[in-house]
Structure formats: structure tokens, C-alpha cells
Amino acid sequence: MPYRDTEKIAPNPADRSPERKFTWRRKHLLNLRELSREELLHVLDTAEGFKEISRRSIKKAPALRGKVVVNLFFEDSTRTRNSFTLAASRLSADVLEFTAKSSSISKGETLRDTARNLEAMGIDIVVVRHNAGGAPHFLTKCIDASVINAGDGYHEHPTQGLLDIFTIRELRGEISGLKVAIVGDIAHSRVARSNIWGLHTLGAEVYLVGPPTLMPAAVKELPVKVCYDFDSIISDMDVVNMLRIQFERIGSQVIPSVREYSRLFGLTVDRMKRAKKDVIVMHPGPLNRGLEIESEVADGPNSTILRQVTNGLAVRMAVLFLVNQAATTLPSPQSETNP
């Protein structure tokens, strides 16, 4: 199972009908919770179309030529931000980088003012990452541009959820019926939440695994099964998505030590022996080698970690393209959303 290759393993579900037509109506992408099954599949199918741009010699298409995309990042992030920058550039858009540290935010400007000032310069899409859940939704009320959520507090990280699901679908063909475990600090994970909603809508069975101290209190309202004993379910899982443990939490009451966490919830070589031979191993990055995942596993044949990064580019191109289509071609695109 050479999952590190960039080859596709499963037959492409998008091939099923060349005439299948779907109209994307959302000018914003704030969460995966609201997306219908058809909408999710449409993003994935569209991303499929974008994946091959990155494989040719001129890695550009003119679809967003003349459009301005702003990366409005109030939280540090090189990975996601670079991914969006490259995705926008591949579509020939102009990209503005706005990071909180080197900006007027440090001078006390409000989110609303920042966004409106940018909009006054003429921007089309804002990609926003903020430590307050709901900030992207708030932005949609202040400005006319399209808003894409690149991670808001503990709420959602929709493009990460989409690229994770895209990766699974690329390797398995169908999401429905798969058993997917998400392991780690669930309470503080927007990646987990987006995955939960997207996977659930597409019919997968989601298992949340981690220490009780890191399970969100409201977990019973989520469409998941909760498990505090990784070993008891690992042999049943088709996919294991390991979340990053934040070092700041080590040594606190929630995670007494690296060794204890790794022993109970880390994806070790030993644990992998109990898993299915073709289990898909995922991680949103960056890795804490030896903590939530052992090096040998992260670099092993079941790992799709690098593939996820490649797919992230295609998924983000698809999202940029689709929200722009809705915003510019529909007489009344859907802009009302629930937070």
C-alpha cells in the first residue's frame, strides 16, 4: 500500500457521469457542518479537476485572473497560509498577505475596520484565520467579499476537513461505511470538528479517541462514538487521523507526560501491528515525532501525510474557484449562514 505515491488508487468517482451538473451557490465557506452531501461531493469532484494543474509544467490556469485574494491571518500559520497563497497564485489571482503581527492590528485596529479598509482597495476573497470562533461569520456581515474560513478558534477548519476527506476518497473511492478514528486533543481541535461533520454527512462512522480530559464536554451532541482506549478499536479502523498535541498542554493536569500520552494514545509501531494492513494514517501537521505518532509510522507505507499536503492545494483551489463562481455569476448567491 504505497500511499505516499501521488498515484490515485481507487477509481475516480467523478468519472461516473461527464454530464453531471451542479450549481454551487455559496459565496462563503465557513464550515462543513452546513454543507449537504451534494455540496461536499461537488467540492471534492472539483478539487479532482484542480489536482492535475500541479503536475504539469506550467502550473497555472487563468480562472481567477484579475481577482484579489487576501490572506487575513490573525494566528500564526505558515502551512495553511502558504497553501492558500499558492492555490490562489495557481489560479492567477493576486494575493495580499496580511499577518497580525506586522499590521495595524498591533496598533489596535478592530477586525471590522481592518476588513473594510482592505475591501476599500477592492478585494474579492478574504481567507481568514482567527482565534475567535465565529470571526469569519462576523466578517461576512461587514464586507461584501467572499469569506473563506482558514480556522476559527476551536470551531472549524473546513478546508482541512475537505482535504482529509478528499485524501480518504482518493484511496478508497467511497466514504460511506468507513470507520474513521480521530485521535488526540479533540476539545481544542477545529480540524476534528470539520472532519466530524464532513465525514458524518458522507456516511462514515467517526470514532473520537483521546484522554477524557481532552474530550469536549458537548461530545454527546456530536454524531460520533467516543472511546478512551485506543487499543480496543484500532483493529477495526479504516482510517486513523492523528491530531497534534500542543506542547503547552504537556505537564499540565490534562497530559501528565509525553511518555504517558504516547503510550496510551500515540500511533506507535506496536499499535500499527494491531491495525488493518491497509489502514490509512493521517495527520494534519506539523508532526510531533515520538509524541502522537512515531517516526517510523509517519514515514511508513500507510502514511498519507504528504499526500494530504498535495491535496490541500487542490482543495483550496477548488474552494477559491467555487466561491468566486457563486459570487460573480449568480444573481443572488447564498450568503446567509449559520455560525
Binding site: 475516480n12 461527464p18 469532484d45 504539469r56 455569476t329
Partner: protein, 174 residues
């Protein structure tokens, strides 16, 4: 609705196109067919079969999705074109590429296809083969190989229906 070509007529035209393509390509020319999605793809596949059996050698065939190169992406429209992957698994550098489409009308699709193709490499030459040329050009584009020229009033569309996707086989004016 008026039927301009029935299934037999279409088959005859495809043979004619294949012959013209072969005749115009000198021997030893690395020829390749690239169909413009979506019905161009099907016609290209059929032409590939015919040409392969005539030349008794394999002919490369690929599919080009021109959605991202359209000049009307930001215009209000009734339907959104869906992006699908382009599938060209051979190098197009220094090849004689024959672009294949079902209908040549305004010429805008062909223009988009040219721009898309050039982003993949530098072919030796690009030619255009179409099943039907119905005129009404909006750009200075012409086809090299034409199945049939159809005169039709501007307010009528020439639509090609093919078995593989439409469960019928005919070219109509509607």
C-alpha cells in the same frame, strides 16, 4: 427540432475526418488526438479507434477540460460549468496535436483549448477537427478538418447527441 445528421451519417463523417487527418499527417509524424470535453472527448476516442485500425499502430489520445480557460467565467450564466481533470498522459512537446470538438460555433471554445494546451507544452503544430462547423464566428478561428458545414440561423443551436452519454445518436437543429 430538425435532424441534420442521423447515426449513419455521423459514422460516415467520422470516417471522412479520420481519412483527412491521416492524409494530412506525413508518415512518421507523432500524431495525437485531444478531445475537448465533453463530447469532443468521445469523438476523439472514436477517431482514435478508426485511425489506429487504418495505420495499424497506436495513436495517443487525451482529453482537455477547458473550463478554467473560458472567457466567460465571471459572466452571469444559467449553469455553472463543472471543472473536471484534464487527462493527457503523454508529452505534447513536438507532437502534431489534433484538437477535436463536436461543434465549431463562435470559436471561443477553440481559443480556450489553444490557451489550455499551450500551458502543457509546445506542440509541433495544433490542428482543429470538428464534426460540425455551424459558423457565427466571434473570433478569427477556423477548423482544419470539418465533417459537415451547417448553415443555421443565429437563434438556433446545433446540438450533437452521442450514444455514450446521451443514449441517442444524432445531430439536430433546435
Amino acid at each position: 427540432m430538425q435532424v441534420i445528421l442521423d447515426s449513419k451519417a455521423i459514422a460516415v463523417l467520422l470516417e471522412k475526418l479520420a481519412d483527412e487527418i491521416i492524409k494530412a499527417a506525413p508518415p512518421q509524424t507523432p500524431l495525437a488526438l485531444i478531445g475537448i470535453r465533453s463530447r469532443g472527448e468521445i469523438i476523439a476516442q472514436r477517431l482514435q479507434k478508426i485511425i489506429q485500425s487504418r495505420l495499424n499502430q497506436p495513436v495517443d489520445q487525451g482529453t482537455l477540460d477547458i473550463t478554467l480557460y473560458r472567457d466567460d467565467l465571471n459572466q452571469p450564466r444559467h449553469h455553472q460549468p463543472n471543472v473536471r481533470p484534464t487527462e493527457i498522459d503523454f508529452d505534447i512537446d513536438d507532437r502534431l496535436i489534433v484538437l477535436v470538438d463536436d461543434v465549431l460555433n463562435t470559436g471561443r471554445s477553440a481559443r480556450a483549448a489553444l490557451d489550455a494546451l499551450i500551458d502543457y507544452g509546445r506542440p509541433l503544430a495544433i490542428r482543429l477537427a470538428v464534426l460540425v462547423d455551424r459558423g457565427q464566428r466571434e473570433l478569427p478561428i477556423s477548423a482544419d478538418y470539418i465533417g459537415k458545414v451547417v448553415e443555421a440561423p443565429k437563434n438556433q443551436r446545433v446540438n450533437v447527441y452521442l450514444n455514450e452519454v446521451d443514449n441517442r445518436e444524432e445531430v439536430v437543429l433546435e
